[in-house]
Every structure is written in C-alpha cells, then in structure tokens.
Symmetry: D3
Subunit: 81 residues, 6 copies
C-alpha cells in the first residue's frame, strides 16, 4: 500500500510546452507503480501516486529561485569555455 509523491517543477519538457502533459503524468504514474510492484511485490491497485507541480518561483535551489540559479549555472558554464 505504498504512497508515492512526485514533486516536479511546473514547466514543459518539449519546446512550446509550459507544463507537464497528461500523457507524461500517466507515464510517471505507471512507471513508479511498476517499480513498487517489481521491487516490493505491491499490486498496482494498492499504490497511490500523487504528482505535485511546483511553480518555478516556489522552488528554490542554490539559495535562490530556480530560474535565477539556472541562469547563474549557464553563465558560469559559458564563462569557462
């Protein structure tokens, strides 16, 4: 009877997309439920999966909002070339 909570940033993985699609969510749910079935013998119907989408300004990394830290990382990378 596992509960799996998946927290991801609310953004797209494909150009032109700005959110996780319903198909991607279904694939995440299927994938993690199968992991619990394969590793711990938990039947699929006993697993609940909760996907939480977090706005980028609500997700901090490196002591700042994620977008800022990503820009910083990109700048550092380009400046070392």
């Amino acid at each position: 009877m596992p509960i799996v909570t998946v927290q991801v940033t609310r953004e797209g993985t494909q150009p032109g997309s700005d959110k996780v699609t319903a198909e991607e969510k279904a694939a995440i749910i299927q994938g993690v439920s199968e992991v619990l079935r394969d590793v711990l013998n938990k039947p699929l119907e006993s697993t609940y999966v909760i996907i939480e989408e977090v706005d980028l300004e609500n997700w901090g990394w490196g002591g700042m909002p994620t977008q800022h830290y990503r820009q910083l990382l990109a700048q550092r990378k380009s400046s070392t070339i």
Copy 2:
C-alpha cells in the same frame, strides 16, 4: 500541537458540484481537530489542518490516472453481472 494534512481529489461529492465546498472543508477541519482533542487531549487551538486538493489527473491509482482506473473498475463490475 498536531498537524493534520488531508489530501483529497479535487471533485465534488454532490451532483453538479465539481469541487470540495467551503462547508465541507470546514466540517473536515472541525471533525479531525475534534478527533485529536478527544483521543490525545490536544486543545483545538493547537491543531493545524491543511487540506490539499489534488487534480484527478495528478492522482494515480492502479498504475494509471484515477479516472481511468475508476472506469476500468466500473467496466469489470458491469461485465461480471
């Protein structure tokens, strides 16, 4: 000083309603706070209750989004009659 987190699907319980109403939320808050008071002697003012409403496509069950699994269960049920 309990903290109670209640995660429910974002949907209605009555025909025509598509979400948990403010009255239902207030009743949940009162009910679970009273449970903590009655069982553990926690005063009502020391309990925080957080209600998290989860979109149906973000809640997985049976290895798939909840709506799909409910449809599957309904089909299985009708096919055994």
Copy 3:
C-alpha cells in the same frame, strides 16, 4: 481515496506513558477515516491514514524546541499570577 497524515509529538497523554499508545493510534485512524466518510462520502476502505510521531527535540515552536517553549509559556503564566 483520501490520504490523511497526522503528525504528533512522540509523548504520552497519560501519566507514566511516554508515547502514543496503539489504542490511541487506532482511535485516531478510526476517527479521521469516519470524518472523511461522513463529510465526503469516502468509503472507509479508500482512506489511508499515516501517523508520524515526531521527537520533541525535532518539533520547533516559538523559535525553539517545543519543550523549551512550553517551559517559557509556563513561566510566563506563573509570573502573571
């Protein structure tokens, strides 16, 4: 298919007890599951309840560990009499 998470301090409610008893846990589980059934028509078998016991030194209140803050509140109270 609600999930209810109940976080409480790991301590007893009765003299001589230093933890939440199995009977108290069962009563909490029954109580909150019945609230979800009564308010949102959720069948008991669709609700999962997780009880998390938190050591007192891991629970902060008033900017300090809970025991310290309780002592402070008790001192304030006695000094105003």
Copy 4:
C-alpha cells in the same frame, strides 16, 4: 542535501497585497538555505526549498477555517478590554 518545505497561507503581508510576492519568496529561499549552510555546513547548491501556498479556507486552526478563528480571537480580545 536538505529539502526544506515552507507552508504558508496564501495572503499578503502588506496592505493591498493578497499573496506572497516573488521578492518575499526569494528572501525565504535565501534565508532558510543560509540557515542550513551556517548550521550544518550544507552548501547552498545542495539545498532544495519548496514553498507551498495554502488557501485560507484550506488551512484549519482552532477547529475551524483560519479566517473564522482569527475573527474569533479578535472578538475575544476586544471584549476583554
């Protein structure tokens, strides 16, 4: 590699504001990340911070939705003057 989750009510701290601003969120992220760095020597880039804003009607306190309890506290206070 700490994960810090900050749950706050969705409301403003300044007159005319009804939500936590992006500047306030950035300040929270920076502040708590620095606490983990200063106390546990965790590098800023290893800390994730998640801010969850909770609607007032979804946050219970004193056995009722927060707005109601605040009104009650305000009434009690004014009636004791």
Copy 5:
C-alpha cells in the same frame, strides 16, 4: 530537480524478513529516478528520492490499523469460499 517520496509499510517482502532491505531500497531509488529521466528528461543527479518506512500500527486502512484490516479482508475472503 524532482523530489520523489516513497512511503511504504515497514515490513519484509520475503519470508523471514521484517523490513525493506538495502538492496530493495537501492532498486526503488534507481527505478523511480529512471522513470523521471525517461519521461521528463530529468538527469539522474537532479532527482532526490526519500524512502519513508511507516510502522504497521501507524498506517491506517479501512478505518483501522492495517494489520487488523488485512485480517478482516482475509476472513471475508475465506468465508465466501
């Protein structure tokens, strides 16, 4: 930068084992991290996985502690044969 929290009951999946083994935990971590990589293109190093083991008496199902409910389900099943 996903965060995946996996809550499971603290019990074994093999005869003679009463807990989730280190190998099973490693397999869960690998499996769910790969799901996030395959579905959302998240690099493995950006995903944190937290496994929370919950004592059976702290996990409620069907309005009662899980062991009791499992016994009830087993009795119902045997009585319908």
Copy 6:
C-alpha cells in the same frame, strides 16, 4: 502560521558525530523561524518547525543511495586531477 519541514540526512557535521545534535536542531529551528518573522512578519509563536532525519540508505541521489553517489563523485573528482 507557517509550517516548515526540514529534511536532512541522519549524519553528523563534526568528526566523531553521527547525527544532528540537539544544539544544531535548536539553531535550525531558531533560524528558519526568524526568516519567516523577518520576511513575512509571522510571529515566532505561530511557526511550527518539523525536522525529519532520513537514514542515508533511505535518501537517493543520482539514481542510487546517497553514500554510493558520494563515493562516485569523489572518485570522479580524484580521477580528473
């Protein structure tokens, strides 16, 4: 009335220590409570802080348990010198 949950690995920051000390926990509680007070004007007594210590084998990073990934990172680093 914020709730701050701080998840850290259960390990020491000083040689010879294998866990977060009570003093470090008190400093974390004070620090994050002051951040909420300074940024959002939340009084210290309205903030709850929960510290969750997670065993190293229960915390995954890089698709594997944290100790393994740290060893891998250390090996990569030394091999590039």
